[in-house]
Point group: C2
Chain length 468, copies 2
């Protein structure tokens, strides 16, 4: 069933009411020296309603422009619109740009010699009007803009990918281009490349708490920005999984942000700006993703396309880089990291890799089963040994011939592994299982971050307000 441009009466009412309410909040915020967090929530609501409507309106147009695909895991393989994530991404970008005047003080240039020179500027007073009314000084503006630039680059290249079906080895580089704006502005505008070391490493660098990584720090950030989008893009292929995992990640990061903004957290705190920054970036994302999920959840009426995966991953990457909490993010990305390492033997072609590794849809039962790869030539002995060990600890499902050679194996993705563990199941139950895993890993990650970090670092920046 494809998406339809008709709205039910309930839909129309709900969408109209929500939109009006959100604009009401915005008008209210704009009048007073209002609360940017309320404004961000209102933007999130508008993002939800506009993405919801745009997807319905544009469905037929996408199909006409050949942006369509068939869902192979259904009995009726109707054509549905593809690459709808691009719509969500564009709504998000316009929202996040329009949002700029809310969190930033307005500098007032009172004298100019022309040509855009700021000869005399009254900088807005840093009146602390409370935790949530806190506004950003102007030196944060460049970071904010660079984040949007990176997201736009990834959306432009992602659309290219959705249009042209780029080869894997080129695809992997798309996020590298996307990372350029954030890294370059970081270089020109901030340039701090020191990190604090875990206690157990300090003896090796002469007992210092901080170490300057220089160029290595940029390589680390670039690697992080390349990993996030690609890791989401390979944990994909069943209805709703791309959007649902991104939504869970966004909500987990928001939960972490909220820990810094709660009345019980220390205030003023050096990390508060970063976490407000993160809230502003993520709330509208939650809005567009919820709307997309509504159409993309089982049974999907639209596909999201690579653009959405890149875009979501890049959002987390820039959020982590500019908010200086990329270490925390790694903890939330445990399923993605696992899936990436687990996939590596096939991605690196140590083991043959079929064109598609989606789970297999059994037409008779209507259930998803692990997809399998068959080996026409015998694998190298060392690889066979490793695979047999993996099979023994239930990390693979293999078949051997009478001489003990592996002739068949389940594909190396976490989605197939889930089916190996829990047996065939319907597509939506499969997605729900993986999402539950993502939530569990994420909550565990946050627990580790805030409760166990003190074991290896001298301070958790949530408890202590004066750290370097």
């Amino acid at each position: 069933m494809t998406v339809s441009p008709q709205f039910s009466r309930t839909e129309s009412w709900a969408l109209t009411t929500l939109t009006i309410a959100c604009f009401g909040v915005l008008a209210n915020v704009f009048q007073g020296d209002g609360n940017p967090v309320s404004a961000s929530l209102a933007f999130s609501g508008i993002c939800y309603t506009s993405t919801y409507c745009m997807i319905k309106w544009l469905g037929a147009t996408f199909i006409k422009a050949n942006l369509k695909g068939r869902d192979m895991s259904k009995l009726k393989k109707v054509e549905i619109p593809e690459a709808m994530g691009a719509v969500a991404a564009i709504v998000y970008l316009l929202a996040i740009i329009t949002f700029i005047p809310f969190p930033f003080y307005k500098d007032i240039v009172t004298a100019t010699s022309g040509g855009g020179n700021r000869d005399f500027v009254i900088e807005a007073q840093h009146i602390e009007t409370g935790r949530l009314l806190h506004k950003f000084p102007h030196n944060k503006l460049a970071s904010y803009l660079s984040a949007i630039l990176s997201l736009q680059v990834i959306v432009i290249l992602g659309i290219g990918d959705d249009l042209f079906d780029i080869r894997w080895r080129h695809k992997v580089l798309i996020p590298a281009f996307g990372a350029i704006p954030v890294l370059i502005v970081y270089f020109v505008d901030f340039g701090v490349t020191q990190i604090s070391l875990p206690t157990f490493l300090r003896p090796y660098v002469g007992g210092r708490e901080l170490v300057d990584l220089g160029v290595l720090y940029y390589l680390y950030m670039a690697g992080f920005a390349i990993f996030c989008p690609n890791s989401i893009n390979i944990l994909a292929g069943i209805n709703g999984i791309e959007v649902a995992q991104s939504l869970v990640l966004a909500l987990l990061i928001l939960l972490n942000d909220v820990l810094y903004l709660l009345p019980s957290a220390p205030y003023p705190h050096p990390a508060i700006d970063s976490h407000l920054f993160s809230v502003y970036l993520l709330l509208p994302f939650v809005g567009v993703s919820l709307a997309l999920l509504k159409h993309n959840w089982f049974p999907s009426k639209v596909f999201v396309g690579d653009t959405y995966c890149y875009f979501a991953g890049m959002l987390f990457a820039v959020d982590g880089i500019l908010g200086h909490f990329s270490k925390t993010l790694w903890l939330l990305l445990i399923p993605q990291v696992f899936n990436f390492i687990y996939s590596a033997p096939q991605i690196l072609h140590l083991v043959p890799c079929p064109r598609h590794r989606l789970p297999h849809f059994n037409v008779r039962t209507g259930l998803m089963e692990p997809s399998r790869v068959t080996f026409e030539r015998p694998l190298r002995p060392i690889i066979q040994t490793v695979m047999k060990i993996a099979a023994a600890v239930k990390l693979l499902d293999i078949k051997t011939d009478e001489s003990g050679n592996i002739i068949e194996s389940s594909n190396f993705t976490i989605i197939n592994l889930w089916l190996v563990w829990f047996g065939p199941m319907r597509e939506d139950r499969l997605a729900m299982g993986l999402i539950a895993l993502q939530i569990a890993c994420g909550l565990l990650g946050l627990f580790i971050r805030h409760k166990l970090a003190l074991l290896i670092f001298t301070s958790d920046n949530l408890q202590h307000s004066s750290i370097i």
Copy 2:
């Protein structure tokens, strides 16, 4: 004839040599506290070679993805790739982002309390190392980034337009979205809305030289940003005209910029930053446009698509807005303004408007002739009168029936008008004629700007270094 992915030996040599030379210049600039203008020239060269190659490499891919069209003004109507301007735009965007570290001082943050806080910053000293070594302070960074954001928005929406064939009344709004980032950052970051008045208007505002336009100034800027891209998009339809007119406009603006950077110009001068800013934005544009023109000039091997027209127009708009010389730009856009006003009766449907108004290709002569619109119902008398006057002063070519009713007319575009004036001609001569007109109008415009402006303003900012 479509574009081919093969390179001749001469092409390979020329492109390789140019690329190596440009990287050489960049390496040189990067070592010393080098000259950003040289770096910009080198970027321009790299833009040329990469756009040139990308277009050749991607031709077949575009055709396969259904981005193709037939050239109706040729005897052999082969399919050639469409929307190639998007490639040029993307190369440009990546270049202009990578260029950031060259013109901006690097602020060095020496102490941070974490979370991206700039607690102690050594601002780069404003050492004036001469006119061309001049670097920008950081308060220009937000403007620069907002310009890139606007261009990216327009490219994303332009690609949508090329894919989906959006209706005219929606198309017109695309540049409005594109203008948002520049206007919002202008609002938050600069916010000057005063303009200096021509002398003859001053008595009406109590003799003041400056008048604060407030919200009107933003409306003016938005209008300007909507006009530029659309005006280039409607002066289109024959081989090479879109790129050639944009290239001429870019070169004319560069000429105007150079007037401020020449050794004879006053130094230091308040407008010098704006004009350097403009040079940095335009040089890479000249690079990508030359490469595009090489493939798009008669007989076209690729089409440029709406993306390029929007992108080029938006570049001029943001350049004029952020450089505070939009008045000068109007003078360079005289042919576009004329074409817009001349087209208005058809665009507003006062006179019937056919789906396409391109000139007509005569298969027998191989020449272009004015395309015509026939009126099935008689036009309103007032419109007939105006059209007859226009025909009398050679602004239209009309046909009347025996009772004096207009039954046919040439279409209302400057391209058709040129053919009405000078008779049928080959497509490339037509394009060259219009480009010559653009050059002539532009040079006249610059003459007016610098020689005659003193008649109505108290100062031309090129002569006087201390103005408001």
